[in-house]
Amino acid sequence: MPRDNSIKSVLIIGSGPIIIGQACEFDYSGSQAARSLREEGIEVTLINSNPATIMTDSVTADNVYLWPLEKKSIIKILEKHKHIDAVLPTMGGQTALNLAIECEKAGIWKKYGVRIIGVDIKAIETTEDREKFRLKMLELGIGVCKGETATSFLQGKEIAQEIGFPLVIRPSFTLGGTGGGFVNSPDKFDAALTAGLHASPIHEVLIEQSIVGWKEYELELLRDNLGNVIIVCSIENFDPMGIHTGDSITVAPAMTLPDTIYQKMRDMAIKMMNGIGQFAGGCNVQFALNPDTNDIIGIEINPRVSRSSALASKATGYPIAKVAAKLAIGYNLDEIPNAITKTTSAYFEPALDYVVVKVPRWNFDKFKGADKTLGLQMKSVGEAMGIGRNFQEALQKACQSLEIRRNGLGADGKELTDLEKITHSLENPSSDRLFHIKDAFHMGMSFKNIQQLTKIDKWFLSQIEELYLIDKEIQKYDINTIPEHLLRTAKQKGYADRQIAHLLGCLESHVFDKRMQLGIKRVYKLVDTCAAEFEAKTPYYYSTFDGENESIVSDRKKIVVLGSGPNRIGQGIEFDYCCVHGVLAAKECGYETIMINCNPETVSTDFDIADKLYFEPVFWEHIYEIILHEKPEGVIVQLGGQTALKLAEKLHRYGIKIIGTSFQSLDLAEDRGSFSTLLKENNIPYPKFGTVQSAEEAIELSKELGFPLLVRPSYVLGGQSMKIVINEKELEEHVINILKDMPENKILIDHFLDGAIEAEADAICDGEDVYIIGIMEHVEPAGIHSGDSNAVLPPFNLGNLEIKQIEQHTKKIALALNTVGLINIQFAVKDEVVYVIEANPRASRTVPFICKAYREPYVNYATKVMLGDKKVKDFKFNPHKEGYAIKVPVFSFNKFPNVNKELGPEMKSTGEAIYFIKDLDDEFFEKIYSERNLYLSR
């Protein structure tokens, strides 16, 4: 059936602020869906409270509402846009689906004549309710986990007898699985059952067959109205059942499945999707496979675009969200062209000739006291994806992308050598188990033992074992004696020059020079959905060490934009927003734009944003080789957050032009000594401070500065390890702690302005003129990280005199730093004096928020200024100022039941929402204002 012409105006529901389990993948899906519908001439209205999203830009949708994701907001929108005839709730994760169901139950859709497209409400109910799902699967003849609920000891015993061991006990209505657990043998069962029944407030437990250690798979499906189904991608979990798929290392395509079993799974997936309802759209199905018997169990089915579909889209090049949106408005798969080849059909199943590995990114360091063991609840905050011509290369590239100061899988001097700790880590997976597997081989642990402890498939483990053997082989040589074939093999298997240098005992640059001499260089291959069977028109590349280079360099002038890597606390979707706008602005200035990023959840890694996308680690050697290949005019580092910014020094050293603010200025702002000299010269007040490299120096300095003190390491992100101390004992402890993690770091110690009000300003500067795009006052007092504070735009409680000082300081600093582009400055206001705390000459977390609040494309402007295409005075600024906008931080503390919500100088929030108020009498504002001191801790 061709497009349903009765659909003329569609409402897309977004996913709201970023929390653990629901990250920026839904900005990717929402943006793709909106673009896909608008291509068809359909009017798109978008609701999402997350300002740092591309989907909520006027470039993406016709009408944008940055309103809370609540029923009231939906009613208000439908009242205003009476012609909206359909709602697409499958692009905004569980949040959007839940809101759609709530509205359905309240009869809102019916009242306003709005159809739900892309899913069937009944299907959601079937998939959300464990019991309904189980019954449905049994009806379809799909195996499910055996299980039953028990409300008495006797009943429990009977069920256990029926199911057999091992099994799981899950008490009902307890938070985070308290009181539950695995029982491996009958002798442990009685005690566990009693404990479980007691733990449950209603004395009920679910007793379920344990499938821990089974292999885990996911399939991504698309179905049209005719019933045509395709499997876009098969994904195999490196980590077996027992770890949430969001916390698992995953691999595409499936690596260890024979065709017979894969096809069985494919048949089951199609049956499951058809069984839950007849709707046109996307779906994700998860399976567990018993490696001993080949039994397959259906774990769950999600009738919507998910984190895995974002991954599958990036892994295959198949734009799932875009196609799902087309299906929702009536198209059939065979009527849609393949967006990559443009000549073949969208009705096909992508064939990969490379391997993709996703590794999650955790932030346990931000949640002191959290249970770090991975299990059924997702704990990671982001992910990185590596693409390679083999599994090992893809895996090491993913490790290089993680921003955890590792250079790949080990071979970097950070190996664990305590066998007891390694054994514990293999058996109780946490964020670094992957690394410890290799460490275990190095420590001589047997393959069999490693397999028993981890239950990871033999094929994957043997891949890691081979890397360990290569480590040992390389160690036999030095830089002069290493044979060419070994060096080539190592590069093909994903080793970074730094790892090889570590193993050979030489410098990274020596390895680089040596392989350049030998002609061991990266080539670029295309992600084309079809394993080169057809010609592809889309410039989506990854690097590898192989024969042919497919990335042809054009003769246009080029700009590279460095992305922000995996999401983590302190560096989230805001920077991806900035990168995307940077790319679009550079395009407008006539440049060929080149995007480098490794985060599969983002819009920046969509193949139709930049002219060329290199899906690569934002890691020195990958970037440098792209630059050598493409020869761009320069590199934009100030939009990709700390990830991109910290590469500035090396770029500068290698003579590569940094677009906008120079490296010297970036460095000046970061170097506390030179920066305070600059402030002094400009008569700008700042808290007294000093730098130290030992606890002794710190105590000496404290006498001069006076307590309380703010202590932090230099060159870190999101206030990592930043702490307020009130006496010498605390000071000493914290300094020692920092030096333990980061030896030789210069520690900054500031006098802390207790009780001060915090404010910040963002500005654009072209070196001559400065335009302040926004000033925000924090609701919470100084001492709480700016990313964790409610920030009000414009200030609500600062006098004219104070605001004037902020403006003057901002302008002076921006000019003194020779800023070209964006700058963010943080202030503390006490006794009518405005002190400067820090200045960051780059796009900040608040820029997208101001863009949304004032409805102005500031990143676009700033990029044009950086490129020298425009001056500040060339723009007609016209901010839409009405009432106040509040940037509301959103936390994921509920994922860590043992961790108290305590806020301090170290950032903890995972996302943010925007909330508009008319005046200060607003209820919400009153609430946050009255609670402003509630969570303050040190």
Binding site: D259, D292, N294, S345, E349, D353, G547
Partner: protein, 365 residues
């Protein structure tokens, strides 16, 4: 596990293109027509499919060998392809019920291969230049010598190969009690085609390729099946003749792949050698009768001429390929005969098209 570096091997194409790689399988020299398969699973089924007779296969998927081999997953009595080209070859395999590694399997079956080759570059090359002959060797390292050896290999066009892979003696599959007797003309049949027929109540008698209609008809079958197989359909004249007679007596007939091309030839419709053929598990086919589409498993280097079918009053196009609009299925307007270019038994591949076997069986009722 020990770190091993394999011996060198060479690959040379008819047009002079060559590369170095590592020797896998049995050391030695092999020749054949080089073609690529984009499937990500099912290598053993591919290697034992008789349609790949005298062909060197490039597996485009990144890793080969990961799940070993299993005796039950053969598509015929033995390995039929003539050589393997792949990117990463895995000695280590993971599968509880595997019979052994792919390396042992290739060695045992005398198959020579080459790994650590930029297969993507090769595929792009063949995509532009078309299918051609090639030689793999771990013994001959001199290019001139390789060229001399390669020159001896005949072109696939005009080659009749079914006679070589077909059974020499007739045999039976399925229970004698089964309701439908199907006479199968074996031009290089895959085992799973027979399995699919038997599962649906067929009792099959499989005849050698060159069996005449008369001999087959003596068995009094309810229907005829014309199998897949290697080589050029235009020169498989004996089978074309057999099919003509089946049609003359208006007996139910179903053909797959080569069998499909032969049904076309029997109707006077020409076949042609494609630029680089269709080989993979992801080919989109639209059923023009139902409007539904199916993801199909394909393996063919020749195709039926679309215009000739359209202008033939006895034939009707039932299936087309959504990627390039080539013919994927035909049926005769006034006879109980139909055929498809792709592989509905799909082993390896998706099971979307197995309804065609039901369709055939219902014709026999």
């Amino acid at each position: 596990m020990k770190l091993t570096f394999r011996k060198e091997a060479y690959l040379l194409l008819e047009d002079g293109t060559w590369c170095k790689g590592s020797s896998i399988g049995k050391p030695g020299t092999t020749t054949g027509e080089i073609c690529f398969n984009t499937g990500m699973t099912g290598y053993q089924e591919i290697y034992t499919d008789p349609s790949y007779y005298k062909q060197i296969i490039i597996n485009t998927t990144a890793h080969i060998g990961n799940y070993g081999t299993k005796n039950e997953e053969q598509e015929s009595d033995g390995v039929k392809f003539s050589g393997l080209v792949c990117r990463n070859f895995s000695d280590v395999y993971s599968r509880k019920d595997a019979s052994g590694s792919l390396q042992e399997y290739l060695e045992r079956n005398n198959i020579t291969g080459i790994a650590d080759v930029d297969t993507r570059w090769l595929v792009r090359h063949i995509r532009h230049k078309g299918a051609m002959n090639a030689i793999i060797s771990s013994e001959i390292t001199n290019l001139e010598e390789l060229k001399t050896e390669l020159a001896k290999v005949p072109s696939m066009k005009g080659l009749e190969l079914s006679g070589e892979v077909s059974t020499k003696e007739p045999y039976y599959v399925g229970s004698e009690e089964n309701p439908y007797r199907i006479a199968v003309l074996d031009l290089g049949i895959k085992k799973s085609i027979l399995d699919n027929l038997v599962q649906r109540g067929a009792y099959c008698k499989v005849f050698p390729a060159k069996t005449t209609f008369e001999v087959m008809n003596e068995w009094r079958p309810h229907g005829y099946f014309i199998s897949n197989g290697p080589g050029d359909p235009a020169v498989t004249t004996y089978a074309i003749e057999t099919v003509r007679k089946i049609l003359y007596y208006n007996l139910p007939l179903f053909g797959i792949c080569l069998g499909h091309q032969i049904l076309a030839e029997a109707n006077g419709v020409k076949t042609y050698k494609m630029h680089n053929g269709h080989r993979g598990l992801n080919h989109p086919v639209k059923n023009l009768i139902t409007g539904r589409s199916e993801i199909t498993s394909q393996n063919h280097g020749f195709a039926v001429d679309l215009e000739a079918v359209k202008s033939n009053p006895d034939l009707e196009v039932t299936h087309i390929n959504l990627n390039d609009n080539t013919i994927e299925g035909i049926r005769m307007k006034n006879k109980k005969a139909f055929s498809v270019q792709y592989h509905p038994e799909s082993s390896p591949g998706p099971h979307d098209s197995r309804y065609l076997f039901d369709q055939f069986i219902s014709m026999l009722q």
